[in-house]
């Protein structure tokens, strides 16, 4: 599924990375624990998280996460969007919960890593 299809399906807001929304994602992972994200053995996944801080963005950049969805309508700070721009990341927000986002994406065919 492309990021842009995902944006449409869930009514996401694209904060950063508009130019990359035609890219595909096949796998997703949901966690608020960045230590866990750093142990993933796969690149190019979609991260669904409730953790709205610069560390979530930095961790995603380092772990080669393709796109981040920040759940529950949390505020994206300037620092977060600056980091995302700098790291060429796709940063998305949703008013939905992590559970709801994960459920919808799973039903739409996005796969779990583990």
């Amino acid at each position: 599924m492309t990021i842009s299809q995902l944006v449409e399906l869930l009514g996401l807001e694209v904060v950063c990375g508009q130019e990359r929304i035609d890219e595909e994602v096949e796998f997703a992972f949901a966690s608020d624990l960045m230590s866990d994200v750093l142990t993933l053995d796969k690149s190019g996944v979609l991260l669904i998280t409730g953790l709205a801080n610069p560390q979530a963005v930095r961790t995603s950049e380092i772990a080669d996460v393709t796109a981040i969805i920040i759940a529950r309508g949390k505020t994206i700070t300037q620092e977060m969007s600056d980091l995302a721009e700098e790291g060429n990341m796709i940063l998305l927000t949703s008013k939905l919960s992590v559970f709801k986002i994960a459920g919808e994406l799973y039903s739409a065919g996005i796969k779990a890593i583990y």
Binding site: D32, L33, M34, S35, D36, V37, L38, T39, S43, L51, N53, P54, Q55, A56, R58, T59, E61, I62, A63, D64, E79, E86, G87
Partner: protein, 144 residues
């Protein structure tokens, strides 16, 4: 590859400066990508460095990163001034953590850092002196 190897890089880390934790890993990632090093290998290298940076920011007062890259391997040495690790074997155990609430609230401190560095490197050595600091030396071979 022919880029004037060995290439040497140095970065500073400030204890407690969470917003810059990962700045070195991010910079190294961009450099390694320019050198067309395999992206899975780059990921292992920068994840290991990032984990180490977060450890220094979370636990120590300051740190220095020295990196040496040649055709065969990357050597990363992270030396910090800090409280040191009293029991290194314990610190290497998955799940063991002495991280503060502040560190945990940022999404870290789950006792996974050192084990994850070990997982992503070819060799890892940890030396520490309580009250002085800790030195991590990691090597990742480029042609595995």
């Amino acid at each position: 590859m022919n880029f004037g190897f060995p290439m040497r890089l140095q970065y500073m880390i400030s204890g407690g400066d969470f917003n810059n934790a990962g700045a070195a890993a991010s910079s190294l990632k961009k450099i390694l990508k320019q050198l067309s090093i395999d992206s899975e290998l780059v990921r292992k290298i920068v994840v290991a460095l990032y984990e180490a940076e977060v450890n220094v920011v979370a636990h120590a007062y300051s740190g220095l990163i020295n990196i040496e890259l040649d055709h065969e391997k990357i050597l990363i040495v992270i030396q910090d001034e800090g409280p040191g690790i009293p029991d290194i074997d314990k610190a290497m155990e998955a799940g063991f953590s002495t991280a503060s609430e502040e560190v945990r609230s940022m999404g870290f401190g789950a006792g996974m850092g050192l084990p994850n560095i070990k997982k992503n490197t070819s060799t890892l050595s940890v030396e520490s002196e309580v009250g002085k600091g800790t030195k991590l030396e990691m090597i990742i071979y480029l042609n595995t």
